[in-house]
Subunit: 339 residues, 2 copies
DNA sequence: TATGGAGGGTTATCCGGTTCAGAGAGGGAG
DNA sequence: CTCCCTCTCTGAACCGGATAACCCTCCATA
């Protein structure tokens, strides 16, 4: 079954291809009567514009790209990306934009993917996630001149348009809450140190603790194993922390398990906070106090900005809502002996 | 910066567009010397074939689609899909194929996405996942005549090519293992009952238990909350099971928490098995005995078959490797009093 | 020396839709 | 009645490649 083209519609309606094109695109140049007739025929035979043919003229592919550079094992357990994607797509679908997805293993490979996509005119723009310092991908995208929205801190996004959520506020809220509960030794089990948002959180954490609590930061690769190992080390030290803030939920769960294994009771002996809420944080015992964000909304905002950028509009940096603390059973008053 | 076309290369090389086309596609019709010259120029100026222009001729979009029909919240915590995608892409990338992803909320919407993609010639084929009984999407894809690989049981895939993993064997292995440990009352906390693989597992579970153990099946929507609720009900019944097999890892973790909450010790009083292994299963205490599969490989096989189908080859149904049981700390001998 | 064929290259056309420059028809103003 | 303008529509060119058909040259062979 051959797909219908505007030529088919034209011959049925007894007009030229051009009239059909105008009619279906809402352009002036055809009478309302003719337009209605053409639209009716198009509907009837189920015509859809051939995206390749369209792209060949206007250079618009009606498609944007997203490359994820993390091992599949980690991507799988990080609810963040799927939620982000679903938020992005809510916006794209409304405008008939598609999303091209690619999982890569290095920044070099990711840049290559961008070059391919752009060179082949497959996409009109991209989202850049997991921003690093001196990120080579930023330079590559600038070089290509491809519309791009960086989902990450604007300090490192170069000339690209950025959208980010203020991490400092969330850190301060968390530390303030823990200090109010009497905690004076707080640890942070952070993610990959080369990610910008890790460092931003690190700094905010140090500042927030300054003068009110001892603090220690351990960096990991976001996996449960490293989260567990870090927790084991922290809880084994003579002046062990009474509260630990984890950079994702899987590490927080791993930490919780380690604590139970070491007979450190949560929240009596140890308080635990997870960054980014998820169903996972709620099914363990005790349920985890978490920093909650509306990630689909974050993705939706990013998508709106990318589409605006593609449309040639000017898109200033945009600070999205900060995460807010959702207290649950994993946090409580500091053990009295340790203050 | 305008993207270079074969016309640019042609004028630089002093030949016609056709010669360039032949040279760059490895077709006969140009001398090796000319070919080398053309290829060198193409490399130098960073030429890449415009995918739209190519698609406009051959009808090949060099792109395949995947639509996921589950709420974002569940997609996020299910490592399955991300691992599947990463496996799929390993194969696609080698052949310069891209993957179009869309998250939808209903089968009707999913069919619509297929019609759009196909009507717009955006994709050459699709993967169909989460097969239902009397699945309307199968009929839709057959009607469209679009190459499709069903990742699911062939009994319901109609004329579409299917790839699936034998669930029966995994169920038998699990039940056999639990029975060998002395368990005589085994529960299964299953996923959505309308999914084919749920029913297949249900049947295999009943058969495997037949005559050797009492059994009960509870259906859920895969969320941790329902997994917890099901567990609570099971453990509250007078003749509570001594082993529970969960259809995914998040429910297994939720079940583990409920057990601990109810002072049912795992594995002393209750054994727990999770279907589909993941980092999550390994970070909780005790680590979960799980049914392990190589999901990326599964995705890779599916991708190979879809590409073969698109190339016009005949693709018979294919049974992939069954999951194998990985015993960990969450399973042990049945409590002696209950036999 | 005529002939056939391979090798190397070109021209013309097509894919499906967009866009530009006009061409007729019809109507209002002068 | 003529002039000009607007409205509606059309032919042709174009986007970037693929492909069918054909042409020229050179060399080997009968």
């Amino acid at each position: 079954m051959k797909r219908p083209t505007i030529a088919d519609i034209a011959s049925r309606a007894g007009v030229s291809k051009v009239a059909v094109s105008y009619a279906l695109n809402g352009q002036p140049g055809v009478s309302e009567a003719t337009r209605a007739r053409i639209v009716a025929i198009a509907d009837e035979i189920g015509w859809r514009p051939n995206s390749a043919a369209r792209a060949l003229n206007g250079a618009r592919a009606n498609c944007v790209g997203l490359a994820l550079c993390r091992p599949a094992r980690i991507l799988g357990v990080e609810p963040f990306f799927m939620e982000l994607i679903s938020g992005i797509e809510g916006v794209l679908a409304d405008r008939s934009y598609a999303l091209l997805l690619q999982v890569v293993t290095s920044h070099q490979q990711e840049s290559e993917v961008y070059r391919h996509w752009w060179g082949e005119s497959r996409i009109d723009g991209v989202f850049l996630v997991d921003l690093h310092y001196d990120d080579s991908r930023v330079a590559e995208l600038e070089r290509l001149g491809m519309p791009a929205v960086v989902i990450g801190h604007p300090s490192q996004s170069g000339s690209l348009s950025a959208i980010w959520s203020e991490e400092g506020e969330a850190v301060r809220e968390t530390v303030g809450y823990l200090v109010a509960l009497g905690h004076r030794r707080i640890a942070r089990v952070a993610g990959l140190p080369e990610l910008v948002h890790t460092t931003v959180r690190d700094q905010a954490f140090r500042q927030a603790c300054e003068g009110v609590a001892e603090h220690v930061i351990v960096h990991t690769d976001y996996t449960g194993e490293e989260g567990a190992r870090a927790t084991r080390r922290l809880l084994s030290s003579p002046d062990r922390p009474t509260a630990i803030v984890y950079d994702n939920d899987i590490m927080a769960v791993a930490g919780l398990s380690v604590a139970q294994e070491m007979r450190v009771e949560v929240p009596r002996d140890l308080s635990i906070v997870a960054w980014d809420d998820s169903p996972l944080a709620q099914v363990v015992r005790p349920p985890l106090t978490a920093l909650t964000r509306d990630i689909p909304a974050y993705g939706a905002h990013a998508a709106q900005r990318l589409l605006a950028l593609i449309a040639g509009e000017d898109v200033p940096p945009y600070e999205d809502q900060a995460a807010i603390l959702t207290p649950r059973g994993s946090t409580g008053p500091a053990p009295s002996g340790t203050q």
